[in-house]
């Protein structure tokens, strides 16, 4: 990028829920900034997700700062409703995302940050908020012989609906929330569905006794995770029970403790478990080997499938464009600090956490906090510079 960089106070990277929330909070704080996204519309990840997707958390605890979900939305809004909520949010908050701006590199330049983009020049900013999402790069595991598989192999990021799979034998690999929902979607589309649970997983009901289980999680979240796990155990026992007979193993530590130590989120059950208990969805352990249409599993079982859906998650992929990422990312490639300065001055992350209390709720909390710290940090420096330097910002209030 040879052109002179545009000098701004702050750059927010990503116009999904996290970026929009941060941008709205910065704007409210009167902090000039630019909001950029590589895609052509806000909430691109939500537009791409499979059609059946609904929020796994209740709308009441999932709204972004300043705008609740519409009254006529159901408790768990659909993917399309989330997309239109995000559009409405950008509009209502008068945000001005610069779309189609793809970041190629973010690096330190003296005491400031340089954000280089593919076709849109570069920015020279005092602060950068990374809100590009933890699901940027699909994780595609491999098994011996996978290349010989005779049918289609679809990652959940490319899965739309089950239409093409009616009557087919489909194996969904991955026991996360998308795997579990896609399995139900496939079953509803008339496919013969099996799932691979590669490791132990906690299952929590989405609703218990007529209310979202998230309410309970929110109450428990104030307690130490070990205590909360202990307290919620009877509820899980009552609503989900022991799933070992169905091939779903329980991790040795409770869901909150597991999340804290490994980042593994519990499976929020939207009906998959009932289908598994009925025998409508079969459960296999990890794949050992693939040969043509036949798969061998680690327990020695053999079965044939027409298609594989890899619901094996994503990586944030930050290290590819963020200079000095090693120092501030953990072993899973996710930032160690959320919602506050990251260990590098002026660098913030928002929306990389997925707590049991809800990722969107966490985004709202982080966004407010980032806006407060960032503007307090940037403004004094900003005041010393001539005003024409604050290009690209949209100052109100």
């Amino acid at each position: 990028m040879s052109s002179t960089p545009l000098v701004v106070d702050a750059v927010v990277i990503g116009a999904g829920p996290a970026g929009l929330a941060v941008s709205a909070c910065l704007k409210r704080a009167g902090q000039p900034h630019v909001l950029i996204d590589k895609e052509a519309a806000v909430g691109a990840a939500w537009r791409r997700h499979y059609e059946r997707l609904h929020l796994h958390t209740a709308k009441k605890w999932s709204a972004l700062p300043g705008l609740p979900f519409p009254r006529d939305y159901p408790t768990y809004p659909s993917r399309a409703q989330v997309v239109s909520y995000l559009e409405r949010y950008a509009e209502a908050m008068q945000l001005e995302p610069r779309l189609g701006v793809e970041v190629t590199r973010v690096r330190r330049e003296g005491s400031r940050w340089r954000v280089e983009t593919k076709h849109s020049g570069s920015y020279d900013a005092a602060a950068v908020v990374v809100a590009s999402g933890y699901n940027a790069v699909p994780e595609r595991p491999s098994w011996p012989g996978l290349a010989t598989f005779s049918g289609p192999i679809v990652h959940s990021c490319d899965y739309k609906n089950g239409q093409a799979h009616a009557g087919k034998r489909v194996l969904v690999v991955g026991s996360g929330n998308s795997g579990a929902e896609i399995a139900v979607d496939l079953w509803e589309s008339g496919a013969q569905v099996a799932m691979v649970f590669r490791g132990p997983v906690h299952v929590v009901p989405r609703d218990a006794f007529g209310m979202p289980a998230q309410r309970m999680t929110l109450l428990l979240s104030r307690l130490p995770s070990k205590v909360a796990d202990r307290l919620s155990e009877p509820l899980r026992e009552l609503t989900v029970g022991d799933l070992t007979p169905f091939g779903i193993r329980r991790p040795p530590v409770g869901p909150l403790e597991l999340l804290e130590t490994t980042g593994r989120v519990p499976l929020i059950d939207i009906g998959t478990i009932a289908l598994i208990k009925q025998g409508a969805i079969k459960v296999y352990p990890n794949i050992a080997e693939v040969a043509g249409s036949q798969l061998r599993f680690v327990d020695g079982r053999l079965a044939s499938f027409d298609a594989l859906v890899l619901a094996t998650g994503y990586r944030a992929g930050l290290a590819r464009w963020l200079e000095g990422a090693d120092a501030i990312l953990d072993a899973r490639g996710l930032p160690r600090e959320h919602g506050r300065e990251s260990g590098l001055p002026g660098l913030y992350f928002c929306g990389f956490k997925n707590p049991t209390t809800g990722a969107l709720r966490e985004i709202a909390i982080e966004a407010e906090r980032i806006a407060a710290t960032l503007s307090a940090q940037v403004r004094p420096r900003h005041a010393q510079r001539p005003p024409q330097d604050s290009a690209g910002g949209h100052t109100h209030g």
Partner: protein
């Protein structure tokens, strides 16, 4: 917390087989539990992971059930086979091979003994619980057939050692100079033995290459070996159930030309309970049928049995037979051990 979630383990620690309602995860794998020849007309009780099972032969085939009569908890193995059923010795309740019970005094009563699938193969009886299958295809028996080999016998040894340290013993060759009489490596060349480890999701393969230790002339000649031959010990550990398939052969150290007979061993580890393991060794050789075949087969079997007894002597004398590897100092021959633990936990025990 982890302990309290496993009702089976909890009940076992209380010493009660009755309270143990939940099926141990391990029961879903095929395990050899008894040599074929040890099951005659009378039912036999066997232990698998602290649970008693009864095996029996009826006119219409083999049967395997939980050994507890669901009526009043008598041992079915104390009863007798009548027609296609096993009859409880206490009140005469009858159970078919798939566990369906009938009461002589209350004909309308419905009761079931815990059913197990049973197969006879390689001179052993194999069982697994199908209770958790939920319409899944049953896993096949481990594949042991290999072209060019002939099954010459199956051995069974009860070893007073938990599963993991026993598997460890059979997963390294560093003990062979000190512990074994015949097959193994020379103590003075241990440092030069090549060890390679290949990992797969469901298997750990180890290949060792080095000079064969001195072997009595008679044995060497019977196997067609020359002094100084290179011994190749190539094995793969799998975990559903835990077993090791060995391919053992010799070659000329300079020309690399194979020498003598090859041995093909399948070693299966069937936990009796937490402390004791029943080990089955299925022996096959590449030796074609020849003169003195019966004597030769008995000879090879007895050599393998000797080596297993020598291993047993060591593992039963461990100061600490705990499966926990923490606090041990592992060398280069022990490289596979952690990988084995991981797979035993995940695949075999479902942890």
């Amino acid at each position: 917390m982890a302990e309290s979630r496993d009702p089976g383990r909890e009940a076992r620690s209380r010493g009660s087989a009755i309270l143990a309602k939940a099926l141990p995860y391990e029961h879903r794998h095929w395990h050899p539990v008894l040599l074929s020849r040890d099951l005659g007309e009378r039912p036999r009780a066997v232990m698998l992971h602290g649970r008693e099972l009864v095996l029996f032969r009826t006119a219409s085939g083999l049967g395997a059930l939980g050994n507890t009569c669901p009526h009043r908890r008598a041992r079915l193995s104390d009863g007798a086979v009548a027609g296609a059923t096993i009859v409880c010795p206490y009140h005469g309740y009858c159970f078919s091979r798939d566990g369906v019970g009938t009461s002589p005094g209350t004909p309308r009563m419905q009761l079931n003994a815990e059913p197990y699938a049973i197969e006879e193969a390689w001179g052993a009886l194999w069982v697994r619980s199908a209770a958790a299958d939920e319409g899944l295809p049953a896993p096949p028996l481990p594949a042991l057939d290999r072209p060019g080999y002939r099954h010459i016998g199956t051995l069974s040894h009860d070893i007073d050692c938990p599963l993991e340290p026993l598997v460890d013993n059979f997963s390294e060759v560093e003990h062979t100079p000190t512990t074994h009489a015949l097959f193994g490596y020379r103590q003075d060349s241990l440092a030069s033995i090549e060890v390679s480890v290949e990992l797969a999701p469901d298997a750990v393969r180890v290949i060792n290459v080095g000079p064969q230790k001195p072997i009595p002339r008679l044995v060497g000649r019977a196997f067609g070996l020359s002094p100084g031959d290179t011994f190749i010990d190539d094995w793969t550990v799998r975990f559903a159930p835990v077993h090791i398939i060995y391919d053992q052969w010799w070659r000329d150290p300079t020309t690399h030309e194979p020498h003598g007979d090859r041995l093909h061993l399948g070693v299966f580890f069937t936990p009796i309970d937490r402390d004791e393991t029943r080990m089955f060794t299925i022996v096959a050789t590449s030796r074609p049928v020849g003169h003195f075949d019966v004597a030769m087969r008995a000879f090879v079997r007895s050599l393998v049995a000797l080596e297993v007894r020598l291993d047993r002597r060591r593992v039963e004398r461990l100061a600490d037979p705990s499966p926990d590897l923490r606090g041990t100092r592992l060398g280069r021959f022990d490289a596979p051990l952690r990988e084995l633990r991981k797979r035993i936990d995940q695949i075999y025990r479902g942890l």
